[in-house]
């Protein structure tokens, strides 16, 4: 049986773990708040951008643009997987890694999938499970690096697409629904597909400054960067949400453990007292 001293030491260690998880929960909560603000402002912007690109694409019959035209099928596609740099956020990273493997097997069974990885944790896990890896981007936490990473990724992907190395580009990321709910989402980035809109809107003729082609080129590139940016922001917000929930439950679990250990400690103490009493009494009787 564990001695009193052992139990006490275990209680102490669980208590200090609880302190850490509690602190991490607080940190995650405040980071979540900031990330949530970033995503709620970035979303309407990304949406307006998409509408605008969409409208121009439909009106202008620019199907000849290299980023919109269907690429010659060569069985190779690119997937950008967004995970996090840090662990201790529950099933966040393993979810995205499992989803990646599943998509490779079921959504793209006959294709060679080249993975571009954002985030250290996902990269570590996927390096062991997948052979075709492209670039790996880490240190996404720094505020101003998100934009440059997004631009970098999309620049590289667009080039590969135009050069005919990849026939399509997708992005797999954790979509932020709320602090406790994230959803692994797969979105197609390239080729860019315009969605239909109502007749009335289509009839209006616009003047373009500068020329239609230049404007569309600028819009499309910008749009792709913004989408990538948005996805990374979504993933960051999801990560903090996941971490907050994970740390919350870790704190509760530690509390429960402390309770049961305290009970065990009290019982052990009680039985030690009883044993001692019996010894004293039987000693006195023997006299």
């Amino acid at each position: 049986m564990a001695t009193l001293h052992d139990i006490k030491r275990r209680i102490g260690s669980v208590q200090s773990t609880q302190k850490i998880t509690k602190a991490m929960k607080m940190v995650a909560a405040s980071k979540l708040k900031r990330a949530q603000e970033a995503i709620t402002t970035a979303r309407p912007y990304a949406l307006s951008m998409r509408d605008l690109v969409n409208n121009v694409a439909l009106r202008a019959d620019l199907v000849t643009h290299p980023l919109m035209a269907a690429a010659t099928p060569n069985g190779k596609i690119g997937v950008v997987v967004v995970s996090s740099d840090r662990g201790l956020c529950g099933a966040f990273n393993s979810n995205i890694v499992n989803a990646t493997i599943e998509h490779i097997q079921s959504t793209f069974p006959d294709k060679t999938v080249e993975l571009t990885l954002v985030g250290k944790k996902g990269a570590e896990l996927l390096q062991r499970r997948h052979d075709h890896l492209g670039e790996i981007y880490t240190d996404i936490d720094a505020a101003d690096s998100v934009h440059s990473i997004a631009t970098d990724i999309m620049g590289g992907m667009s080039k590969k697409y135009v050069d005919g190395e990849l026939e399509a580009v997708y992005c797999l990321y954790n979509k932020f629904n709320s602090a406790i709910s994230q959803e692994v989402t797969l979105e197609q980035l390239l080729p860019f597909e315009a969605t239909e809109m109502s007749e009335g809107e289509r009839d209006t003729d616009y003047l373009y400054e500068p020329s239609e082609e230049d404007l569309f080129e600028a819009l499309l590139v910008r749009h792709l960067n913004i989408q990538m940016h948005r996805m990374i922001c979504e993933s960051t917000a999801s990560e903090h949400g996941a971490r907050m929930t994970a740390m919350e439950s870790a704190t509760t679990n530690a509390g429960e453990m402390i309770n049961s250990l305290t009970l065990q400690y009290n019982r052990a103490r009680q039985s030690a007292i009883t044993t001692e009493l019996i010894e004293v009494i039987s000693g006195a009787e023997a006299l």
């Binding site: 309407p44 912007y45 307006s48 121009v56 616009y206 373009y208 400054e209 230049d214 404007l215 600028a218």
Partner: protein, 137 residues
């Protein structure tokens, strides 16, 4: 028959969309500065770095805009800026310091800082200073 006022929707990646009502808007279009009045024809334009002025009666709002797009459809203007700063939030001393720095790098280009970068920085600084001072074109 055109309406009497314009509705402007202004958004950027770091700012939630804001709506303004105005009588007149001045935009820094990439092909030149343009003034938009109610009933303007349909135009799509890219924006360069410059000052955006939203005028409603006696009230003027000045913004420094750094690139983006504007969609003008008669009485609605949608401005999707890469970055936008309201004049009130501009630190003039900082903008002037940036301008001096940019001038220096243009005069004496060093490794790692191209003249184009310096010129872009200069344009941003000038737009900030102008927006802050509420200068008209």
């Amino acid at each position: 028959m055109a309406a009497e006022s314009l509705t402007i929707e202004l958004c950027s990646p770091t700012q939630a969309p804001i709506e303004y009502t105005a009588e007149e808007v001045v935009l820094p279009g990439s092909e030149g500065v343009m003034t938009v009045l109610p009933g303007h024809t349909f135009v799509l334009t890219t924006l360069k770095t410059g000052v955006l002025i939203i005028q409603n009666g006696e009230e003027y709002d000045f913004f420094a805009v750094h690139g983006g797009f504007a969609e003008i459809a008669q009485d609605r203007i949608k401005i999707i800026a890469d970055q936008v700063e309201h004049a009130e939030n501009i630190d003039k001393a900082r903008a002037e310091a940036a301008k001096t720095r940019a001038e220096e790098s243009i005069a004496k280009p060093t490794e790692g800082h191209s003249v184009e970068q310096a010129e872009a920085a200069m344009a941003r600084a000038i737009a900030r200073i102008q927006a802050h001072g509420g200068e008209h074109y």
